[in-house]
Amino acid sequence: MDDPRALLQVRDLTAQFNRDGVPSRVVNGISFDIAPGEAVGFVGESGCGKSVTARAIMRLAPEGSSVAWGGRILFRGRDLLRIEEREMRDMRGRRIAMVFQDPMTSLNPVMTVGAQIDDMLCRHAGLSRRAARRRTVELLGLVGIRDPALRADDHPHQFSGGMRQRVLIAIAVSCQPDLLIADEPTTALDVTVQAQILRLLMRLGRELGMALMLITHDFGVIAGMVERVYVMHGGDIVESGEVDALFAGPQHPYTRALLAAVPRIETAGRTT
């Protein structure tokens, strides 16, 4: 069971909230692995526990709630649910980074976009202010922000929804983490910019060995990006497998139902 190749091994993970004074379990003991440099996808219906699972790896409870986690999350052999907060803080951002589902809540509204990336680079990559700004402008350019040097001085509310989402991606990859957790990272992007971001993430995987845990409702995105897929339903993993096999022959009825519901654009000859 302890594959030495694994970067991340999650074993019997549970998550429980206290709702109306009654404990309610939303993740029911799931196990999965991610190898170094591997891209793994998570799909499943709204509310099935994908974000709660992702946050458990970051050991971050949703804002304003307390959550009880159980099981083990081994990252390079260290159990993230049991290490000291200090060690965990060091992991976040530098070793494991996350793009959260809601971009606005994870950006600081009173700080310029550039300063937020600069901070990250100074703190985790040990860059000087000046070097950090150079890198920040480069990163904003990489995620397709036009006039990055100028726009670095904007505040988040001056960015469009998709631009904010790209800022989060820039922040997350800024310190070249070993594992990037991306929770619906491209929902606010048009398909051309989305393709640009997906290519960037693939390149980071190839060139820096960054592993990717990709949560998305978009089966087109899953299809091109990941090697393996986990399908979640009601707090359980109900199916997992190689992406080609899963698309070709989904086993679980829920997976079949999901794939059957994928909206298709009938523009024969156009999308090829």
Binding site: S51, T187, A188, V193, A195, M202, A223, F247, I265
Partner: protein, 328 residues
């Protein structure tokens, strides 16, 4: 309050964000014009940062326009007094792009949904709980969870609360900004069905902003494509999807991800096509349609078929409308 003509008429709408130190003002929306008929949906697609949300906000008067006109139900909104505008708000609602930050964190879902009902006095006070439960059911959620706070919900559940809030007061016109992007494909289909059935029952009209072109095709009667603050193409959905006339529209349609691993991987492995645009502002001489707009003072807009218009700006070099365009 019915009026002849379109439900919504937008003409030469402009939004400019003021200049700041060392940089020029940003024209986020640049002479945008379109109509929406009662019971119709206009899909608005385009590049991230092209001005879609700002257009929606300016129509609803949540963002001052720097020029142009917006008429809803025959009434000019841009010059309306605050009190009149407040009364108009019952007719027009917004489903915001960002579900979490648009929900008040210290209000329960029941309070969130009751608020517009109280403000617009659309149902008697004692009927409010009933209407709240009805709205929850409408968006596929269990009415039993109404006493919870927004943070206790998943991303997709919050998005449905936002949709329920917009529908609470039975509006005539709703701007839906990425209303289903946080939802799984099955819930998406359910919300799309809901929007359809409300449209049929109540003759609702939507401005439907989305990046998912398959969804837009499923919901929109007409589609507008935005690039750099302008509309570059506008026409019936089938025409725009099957015979796109503007190179940016083609880029967009070509980039739609395919839910097939081998094909999608191959597609991502190809280099991204760079849009090659010309026909920038201030350019003189004839456009690709042979018309000199600077000389004639006409807008840089051409009908390629009835109801299907395209901008002659940003055509790739050498391309001729009506002819097969080179792949870019």
């Amino acid at each position: 309050m019915s009026a002849p003509g379109p439900l919504l008429r937008v003409r030469d709408l402009c939004v400019t964000f003021p200049a700041r130190r060392g940089r020029p003002p940003v024209r986020a929306v640049d002479h945008v014009s379109f109509d929406i008929e009662p019971g119709q949906t206009l899909g608005l697609v385009g590049e991230s940062g092209s001005g879609k949300t700002t257009t929606g906000r300016a129509i609803l008067q949540l963002q001052p326009a720097s020029g142009g006109s917006v008429r809803l139900l025959g009434q000019e909104l841009t010059a309306m007094r605050r009190a009149d505008l407040r009364a108009m708000r019952r007719h027009m609602q917004f489903v915001l792009q960002n579900p979490y930050s648009s929900l008040h964190p210290r209000m329960t879902v029941a309070q969130i949904l009751a608020e517009p009902l109280t403000v617009h006095r659309s149902v008697p006070r004692e009927r409010i709980p009933e209407r709240v439960a009805e709205l929850m059911t409408l968006v596929g959620m269990d009415p039993k969870v109404v006493h919870r706070y927004p943070h206790e919900f998943s991303g997709g559940q919050r998005q449905r609360v936002v949709i329920a809030r917009a529908l609470a007061v039975n509006p005539d016109f709703v701007v839906c900004d990425e209303p289903v992007s946080a939802l799984d494909v099955r819930t998406q289909a359910q919300i799309v069905d809901l929007l359809h059935s409300l449209q049929e029952k109540l003759r609702l009209s939507y401005l439907f902003i989305a990046h998912d072109l398959a969804i837009v095709r499923a919901v929109a009667h007409r589609v507008a494509v935005m690039y750099g603050g302008r509309l570059v193409e506008l026409g019936d959905a089938a025409r725009v999807y099957d015979s796109p006339a503007h190179p940016y529209t083609r880029n967009l349609l070509d980039a739609v991800p395919i839910p097939d691993p081998a094909r999608q991987r191959a597609k991502l492995a190809e280099a991204a096509p760079e849009p090659q645009f010309r026909g920038r502002d201030g350019e003189t001489g004839p456009c690709v349609f042979g018309e000199d707009h600077a000389a004639s003072g006409t807008p840089a807009w051409h009908e390629v078929a009835p109801g299907h218009g395209v901008s002659c700006r940003f055509w790739p070099p050498g391309a001729c409308p009506g002819q097969e365009l080179p792949r870019i």
